[in-house]
């Protein structure tokens, strides 16, 4: 029998998306090295910020600075790294609740070994030197060396 036929099929979507004011504000903050959350009417803060209140669908408008330190709520280890992710080394993935925020965000954890990770640990944001307003302007989070002082 003849060898099975196959062909490479590659789909590319080179999207540029408009952000709107809320997501745009968050990405502006990242470009400037600042993480923003958004305040709900009850005073709690969502990070990353959503445009509407998840319970009432009220528009949300008040952006507030959070982090750059926070607490790891959950984690896993990604090895090998996924091909299109911003990371080219094995890394952690975590639910990180930043100081001043009431909800966690998902981002990378920059450690060499999963043994360095535990829920409840203090972490701090690490920034790329070149930033343009993208979620990967944040390189990820690494263990906070001395609690309370940050970087």
């Amino acid at each position: 029998m003849a060898e099975r036929l196959r062909a490479d099929l590659v789909l590319e979507y080179p999207f540029t998306r408009t952000t709107g004011p809320v997501i745009g504000a968050f990405l502006t903050g990242l470009r400037e090295g600042i993480i923003l959350g958004i305040r709900r009417p009850d005073g709690t803060v969502l990070c990353p910020p959503t445009e509407y209140d998840p319970e009432t669908s009220e528009p949300l408008t008040e952006l507030v600075e959070v982090g750059p330190q926070g607490e790891l709520e959950s984690w896993t280890w990604v090895d090998p790294p996924r091909s299109q992710s911003p990371w080219d080394q094995p890394h952690g993935l975590g639910l990180i609740r930043l100081d001043g925020a009431d909800t966690p965000m998902i981002h990378g954890l920059l450690v060499d070994h999963p043994g360095e990770l535990f829920s409840g640990m203090r972490v701090v944001a690490q920034w790329r030197s070149e930033r343009g307003g993208h979620i990967a302007d944040l390189e990820g989070f690494s263990p906070q060396e001395s609690p309370g002082t940050g970087q």
């Binding site: 968050f26 896993t76 990604v78 996924r82 091909s83 911003p86 998902i106 990967a136």
Partner: protein, 351 residues
């Protein structure tokens, strides 16, 4: 409300469809589902399908699969980029509206040509999460650790769910992963694939499809000796951003089950379409399934998960148990989105 029943089902599932197009997969299934109750496409008042272009790598890919239906003369048709369970919901609504007595529903997924674990990243919000390309297993692992460390579930319980699937699938020809000899110890001995999830916690990916015929009232009684009457069907959704949700729960599943009347009476079987053991556990709690209801007795979605068809396959599995007289009242479930974001519950009864 009209009485509407599942009167015929056909399914196929295997690890990878390497020599078969989606059309070639669906031609025999659709013909089997229609033929078993003596129908041709001319008898079908409405046709609805579910599939995803991101699996096929082709825009509007569903239009090709209509070749398997036969659309001459032109048919009344619709499609959802959803699991076929939602196509069934649309068909059920169409039958409720009236003017149509018989509907054909089908769905299929052939994810083997791509990396489903990564393709699923394209369902994430495209600003905060999508560009990080977190794969499906890693995201589920974050939920699993939250559940384990908060005491929502134990490793032992997750292993029990995995073993239930592996053992139950042993006699199921549609399952792509089974093991009659699997034990809690053997599952706990597996190395994690995405810590703390083990391979047996993650559904075995499969290619396949299902076709289902729905009929209303007396037409259903004419076509089928023991129709599986849809007594309640509902679908609900939670917010998309995972941070704003309690990931150890699925409120939308609970609400859908309540709306569908799941708890009104004893259930002889429950077929759940959770892609992870952790999520199967959440569903058991949210749907209020007691110890007397067998859950995924033939392996369920963990033993073979066909993206876009896993939910319709659960409905087909549950309806088959009514048709065969093995059960009188069954629950089936379908899910889509990250962390069981969206849930559909369908309760069926025999007469």
């Amino acid at each position: 409300m009209r009485d509407i029943a599942v009167v015929s089902v056909a399914q196929h599932q295997q690890k990878a469809l390497t020599d078969t197009t989606e059309v070639e997969l669906m031609v025999p299934l659709i013909n089997r589902a229609r033929g078993a109750v003596g129908l041709t496409q001319d008898d079908i008042g409405f046709t609805c399908s579910g599939s995803s272009d991101f699996l096929a790598g082709q825009a509007f890919s569903f239009v090709h699969t209509l070749d398997a239906v036969g659309a001459v003369p032109p048919i009344s048709e619709s499609h959802v980029e959803m699991d076929g369970a939602w196509a069934l919901y649309e068909a059920w609504v169409k039958l409720q509206i009236g003017g149509v007595d018989i509907a054909l529903v089908y769905s299929y997924g052939k994810s083997s040509p791509g990396s489903l674990r990564d393709v699923l990243s394209t369902q994430l919000d495209p600003y905060y999460l999508g560009p990080l390309w977190p794969d499906a297993f890693s995201l589920a692992a974050l939920q699993a650790r939250l559940m384990l460390e908060s005491g929502t579930v134990s490793e032992q319980r997750l292993a029990e769910i995995a073993v239930r699937s592996l053992n139950g699938a042993a006699d199921n020809p549609l399952a792509v992963r089974s093991s009659a000899g699997a034990t809690i110890d053997s599952v706990l001995a597996e190395a994690p694939i995405a810590d703390p999830l083990r391979p047996s916690d993650c559904a075995a990916s499969a290619d396949g499809g299902a076709a289902v015929v729905l009929a209303a009232g007396d037409r259903a009684r004419e076509l089928c000796e023991r129709p599986a009457w849809i007594k309640g069907i509902d679908h609900r959704i939670d917010p998309h951003q995972p941070g704003v949700r309690d990931l150890t729960r699925a409120p939308s599943a609970r609400k859908a089950a309540a709306q569908a009347g799941a708890g009104d009476d004893r259930l002889d079987a429950a077929e759940l379409a959770a892609p992870f053991s952790t999520q199967e556990h959440i569903l058991e709690v949210e749907l209020g399934l007691g110890p007397h209801t067998p859950v995924n007795a033939s392996g369920g979605a963990l033993a073979g998960h066909t993206m876009m068809a896993a939910g319709l396959m659960r409905i087909a599995d549950a309806a088959q148990q009514i048709h065969d007289g093995r059960a009188d009242r069954v629950l089936s479930h379908a899910a889509s989105g990250l962390y069981l974001q969206q849930n559909l519950v369908c309760v069926m009864e025999g007469e």
